[in-house]
Symmetry: C2
Subunit: 411 residues, 2 copies
């Protein structure tokens, strides 16, 4: 039986401005304290009326003030009126003062647009351990609230204002046709492996004109994040500020409830949007030269597959060899082995794209030239088959370049 | 009550040649197939008679043929007559043929010196996935057996023959005086983070003239390895070949049995020897510029302390900032947090050497210049106090340099 819905994805779009119900703004208020008002650094997402929202947050023990604030607000309310996000300062490791600054940021937005303070969510990314410049933030909020509009230009400005070391904006839009009715899901994100010069934070904001409740959004979002943002790794570090928020304006009138075709379509489109944004984040990783998808299949359990994926993708030796276009399968086998999941090397198959590297633990040296040509590409796929079971996981990652180290060595 | 023993450590020595009962050789047999007979690549440690021995091996799921061979041999015998080790080829991921090559290597040594084949242990380090050049190995064994001698020159030659990308030999000797009687423990090692150009293998051979049984040696060795080689990390990778072997010739006549002062002295001296060799391995890590000891104290459990230590020491962002002499405490707090052990940032103290960086989660910014001067040094200590309990662990590690990536990028 075919699906009763179609999903069309495009990244030639203006992010959340593509979706009915969302007004946007991106303004420059010099949060970096560099007297640079050329750089947009505060984004506002404003809803016409309170809308259902849900979030997924970093599981780091050290959570930044805006993360703690949003978790608290979403436990108080099912609907929100605005999201405010700044780049340049993470408001992380800032103690009680940081929490007060985050609360004041929400209060300023609430005052400017006329809503309850806890119906505002706040995100920050950038330097850690420094107080937010609240006077500048306040001015920025006033300006953003005044100019917020559902225009493409403003959608692009908002997508730009959340960037740190990203080299480009990351937006994507899905148009879903289900049982003859249309709704949209759009997203904007900023990247991981971003350290300007401090933190690797991933932020993502998603808007839809579908009509879904907080719990329905939460359910679909948790699934989508598990299949996308939790399946990428650049340097293995997880930030104090990582946040994904999704809001539904209901403007399309399409009702999305669990166990319906609409829900299936919504969840799949949301997953596609998140996957596309995740891919953009990896491809724009700091000073990377390659994007590598690592698939581990034939595992005894999903956990085994994931552990091995992560060991491979976070191995400095593996990543360095990719950087050098060196088809060094020994490092892959070694990393898979030290995940200590109980694999059997004599059963292992390995492929670079479609080219056999190992069959049952035996190197297919006749393919050596082909191995090299695969790992010399800018994008390729590593497939490791453990031949132990039926489970599979994959992870998208990058190489490790000298420039990465140079870029991250700091002061 | 004071200790009834003294331990004197020196690295100005000839390794195992300092200990009665050990004959040594290091010969060149061009295992790298480069027509280079200038480079020593096969070491032989020969005992006057079968001596008690024990080993600690990699826990990688993918174990190289010599590791599997040694584990099998040590389950068959309590005493050994020789250890043979080669550099240049790891005999790893070589399947049944690799196991036969390892067995044949042992058989050749047994034939040359006159002992049972299972009384020979074998170690290999170097390229992965390639067959050992058995003809060259055989010639090398014959030569080594013929010239093995208990001389300092041969001790240094053996220590040299096991090196791969190490820049210097690593030897140390402990002289122990216990209840008026003397015994010695000496060791030689090659480094981790060694990839020439394939694998990161750590090998260590220890010889003593104490009189201890296999199980006594095993007990002391497991303890010593836990306090030394398992407390270092350069790139977090664990090799298929990592091996530590210890042999006791009994020539001193000093009996070492559990629950005696002699055992306490033996275990402590063995631990010191291993720690000193571990420190040499880290300091000689590939293209590193800094050695950093990370201590986590005030933990709820040893596991929490160790997890946080490892998260910090394996963070690319932390290691990159050390390389740049950037006192970036935010990355340390972030890494500690994503170990997800349940820490409370508002209780965390952090010190660079003795300089306070954080006190109860508050940055001590007045010390900024001092932070910088500490992390600019070639060696420094990071102390993180979680203030949650009484447990402590430490780890010795390095920075991550651009040259590391360049060196490891391979072909």
């Amino acid at each position: 039986m075919g699906k009763s819905y179609t999903i069309e994805i495009t990244d030639n779009c203006a992010g959340l401005a593509e979706v009915d119900g969302f007004s946007l703004a991106g303004v420059a208020c010099d949060i970096r304290n560099k007297n640079d008002f050329n750089r947009l650094d505060l984004a506002l997402i404003k809803l016409d009326r309170p809308c259902a929202a849900a979030g997924v947050f970093t599981t780091n023990d050290v959570k930044a003030a805006p993360v703690l604030t949003d978790i608290a607000h979403l436990s108080l309310t099912q609907t929100i009126s605005a999201i405010v996000a700044n780049s340049g300062n993470a408001n992380a490791c800032t103690g009680g003062e940081g929490l007060r600054d985050a609360a004041e940021t929400c209060a300023k937005v609430a005052g400017a647009i006329g809503c309850e303070k806890h119906q505002v969510l706040v995100c920050s990314t950038g330097r850690i351990g420094e107080r937010l410049p609240m006077e500048k933030i306040s001015k920025g909020i006033a300006e953003a609230a005044a100019c917020a509009a559902p225009t493409k230009e403003n959608g692009l400005k908002a997508a730009s204002a959340i960037l740190t070391s990203d080299t480009k904006i990351k937006v994507v839009c899905a148009q879903v046709l289900c049982n003859g009715r249309m709704f949209r899901i759009a997203g904007m994100a900023k990247g991981a492996g971003m350290i300007e010069p401090n933190m690797a934070t991933m932020l993502c904001f998603i808007g839809s004109d579908a009509d879904a409740s907080q719990s329905t959004i939460k359910q679909a979002l948790s699934y989508a994040v598990g299949k996308s943002f939790n399946r990428i790794t650049i340097d293995g570090d997880m930030s104090t500020n990582d946040t994904v928020l999704a809001v539904c304006s209901a403007k399309s009138g399409v009702k999305v409830e669990p166990s319906t075709e609409e829900f299936e379509a919504f969840r799949e489109a949301l997953t596609k949007v998140c996957r596309e944004l995740a891919r953009k984040i990896v491809a724009d990783g700091e000073r990377i030269t390659k994007v590598v998808e690592t698939r581990v299949r034939g595992a005894k359990s999903p956990e085994q597959a994931e552990k091995i994926c992560r060991a491979i993708c976070n191995s400095l030796l593996v990543k360095s060899s990719w950087y050098g276009s060196d088809p060094n399968w020994g490092r892959l086998a070694d990393a898979a082995g030290y995940a200590r999941t109980g694999l059997d090397f004599s059963k292992m198959d390995l492929f670079y794209d479609e080219v056999p590297v190992l069959i049952k633990g035996e190197a297919q040296a006749q393919n050596k030239a082909l191995w090299k040509s695969v790992v010399s590409k800018k994008e390729f796929v590593i497939t490791m088959d453990l031949n132990l079971g039926d489970f599979e996981e994959s992870l998208l990652t990058t190489d490790l370049s000298e420039a990465y180290v140079d870029f991250n060595k700091g002061e």
